[in-house]
Symmetry: C2
Subunit: 365 residues, 2 copies
Amino acid sequence: MTKLQEIQKYLQEQNTDAAFITTPDNVFYISGFRSEPHERLLGVMVFKEAEPFVICPLMEVPDVQATGWAYGAVGHEDTEDAWDVVIKAIQRRDVTINSIAIEKSHLTVERFERMEELFENTTFTNLDHQLNRMRVIKDEDELIHLRKAAELADYAIEVGCREIAEGKTELEILTAIELEMKKKGVHKMSFDTMVLSGPKTASPHGVPGDRKIQKGDFILFDLGVIYNGYCSDITRTVAFGEPTEAQRIIYETVKEAEQTAVDLVRPGVMAKELDQAARDVITEAGYGEYFTHRLGHGLGISVHEFPSITGTNEFVLEEGMVFTIEPGIYDPKVTGVRIEDDVAVTADGVEILTKLPKELQIIEP
Amino acid sequence: MTKLQEIQKYLQEQNTDAAFITTPDNVFYISGFRSEPHERLLGVMVFKEAEPFVICPLMEVPDVQATGWAYGAVGHEDTEDAWDVVIKAIQRRDVTINSIAIEKSHLTVERFERMEELFENTTFTNLDHQLNRMRVIKDEDELIHLRKAAELADYAIEVGCREIAEGKTELEILTAIELEMKKKGVHKMSFDTMVLSGPKTASPHGVPGDRKIQKGDFILFDLGVIYNGYCSDITRTVAFGEPTEAQRIIYETVKEAEQTAVDLVRPGVMAKELDQAARDVITEAGYGEYFTHRLGHGLGISVHEFPSITGTNEFVLEEGMVFTIEPGIYDPKVTGVRIEDDVAVTADGVEILTKLPKELQIIEP
C-alpha cells in the first residue's frame, strides 16, 4: 500500500471526505514532490473517493509531474487567489465535502479561517496523529534512502579525518568535507556541519571557526546529509596525537554508553530504557552532570522527528523505527566527546545504519 | 521609539490587552533574540500595561538575556507544558486579558485552539498587518546592518571573480567564497549560494555542480549573507574571456534595465512602475520572453519579505523601504545574465547598498 493509499484508507475508515496535507515534509511523503513554498500555498488534497491533487505555485507544476505523481497538479500564479484554484479543482471532481482532516500542528489560523469560510457546514478533524503514526515506521524503500544517507555521512567523517593536520582551522576542514559531499551529489547537508576542536568540543553551543588544530586536541564531527529526501546524522570524536589518560577514560565511557543503548534496541523496549541505560553508564563513571541532553531523536524526512529518546518517554519501539543514539560527556576541564549512530529497529533487534568504527581513532600529527 | 514600544502603543490605541508574537523573525525583531525552536513554543508576550516576557526553551533563557533584552524571559523544559509557564508568567503580572492580538499568518490551529481553551471569553485579533507595516520601514540601526550585509556580499563576489580560472568547477569557486565568508565571521549565507557557468546561466533552476569553467563562459553569481540578523542578496554576471557580440548585447540590455529601475526609486512611486520600466527596456530590445520573473522583493530580517516588486503591485514606496532590483535575460541559445542590487528608499531618492560596479567585467583567461 502506498502512503497515499494509507491516507485514503484512513479517510474511508473515519468516514472523512478529504484530507488537506500542508507540511512540506508531509507533502513530499505523500506525493514525492519537495518544495519550500514560503508564503505561497502548497498542499495535497486527498479524497475518500476521488482523484487527489497537488496545489502549488504554477511554475512548479512541471516539477510535480517530473516526480512521477500520477494524479492532478494544479498551479496558482502570484497574482491570483490560490483558494479559487483549489475550489475549482474540487468542483471538477464532483465530490461532497462535509468533513476535512487537516494538519492542526501546521495549518495557520489565517488559512484555517479561510477554509471555514469556503467550506461551510464542514467539520475539521486533526490528521496529525495519523501522519505521525505513518511516518514513524519506515518501509523498505525509505530504509534504502536512510542507509545511503548514513553511508555518505560515514564517508564525510572519513574525509574530515583525512583533512586533519596541525595548524589547519576547523572551517578549512568543514569546507573540505562539504565540497567533497557536493562532488558526491549531495545538494544539502541535513543541518549545519559541526567541526569543533580542543576545548570547543566541550561547548554544546560551539560554532566552527578559525581555531587551529593542535597536537593533543580531540576533534568532534557532527554532520549529516540529505539523500533522496532522507536525512542522516552522525557524530564521531577523534584524537590528534596521543590522548591523555583523562581523555581516554571519557572516550571509553561514552563508547560504552553508546554501545549499551544500541545493544538494547529491539521491538517492545521503551524509549526511556535506552536513555536510562546509557545515562547509567555515564553516571556510574562519575560524569553524569556532563551528559546534558537527551539520548537521541527520530530521523527520516526531518532530521529531528518523532520519537524523542528521553529518560521519561514511554513510547514503545516497533520494527521500522529509525532514530539516533548519541550520548556525550562535555567536561570543560578535559574534553568533550560524543558518539552518534543512526539505528533502525528490526524484527528482532537493531540495524546500525552508520557503519564507521567507534574504536578511538588516533591521528598521527 | 523601540519596536517593543511601537507594539505597546498599538495595543493602547486598539485597546487590546496583549500581543503574542510567534514568528521567529518577528520574535527577533521585537526582542533581539534569535532562535529556531522547531516544535517547541517560542514567543514574546507584550502587554498594554505590564512588563513583556519571552517564552522559550529553558536552556535558551541565558541566550535571551545575553541579547540585552531587559524584561522577563521564562523557560520551559521538554517534559513540561509550555503553556503552564506562560499562564504563570501572566498571573505574576496581575493583568486582565480580554483580547489578544496574534499572528494569524503564523500561529497554528493547534496552538490557537489551546489558547482559546486557556483564555476563555477572549477576543483574538490579527497582528499581521501591524507587524508588516513596521517591518517594511527600516530604521537607521537596521540600515546599518543591511549596508554591512551588502558590503560583505560585494566582497563575496570579488572573491568569486578572483577564483575564476579555466578548468575550475562551479562548486570549487562556491566553496572558496563560502570559506572566505566564514573567515569574515559570516555564520550563515542568506540562501544557497549560486555559481552557474556557461549554458547553466540560462537555467532558472540551475544548481552549482561539477561543470568546469571554459573560455567564453559567462559566470553568474547570486548570493547573500546574514549580518547581525539582516540579509543581503546580490547578483553579478561576468565574462571569462572576450564575450561574443550577442552576449554583450544581452549584458548591456540587462544593465540598462536595472539602472532604469534603480533611477526611478523614490518615495511616492509604485512598485509596479519599477517592474514595468525595467521590463520595457528588455522587451524593446526583443528579449521580453526571456525575463521570466518579478523585478525584486523586500529584504530585511527575511531574504524575501514584503513588498513584492511585480508588474501589478500598486504598493507605494516610502522612505526606509529596502528591496532588490534584479532583472535578467535567460536566452538558452546565448547566455543568461542577471544583475541585482539591494536598494533603500531615501527621503528624495535611492541609496544603493550594494556598491560593486556593473560595467561588464571581463576576466582574462
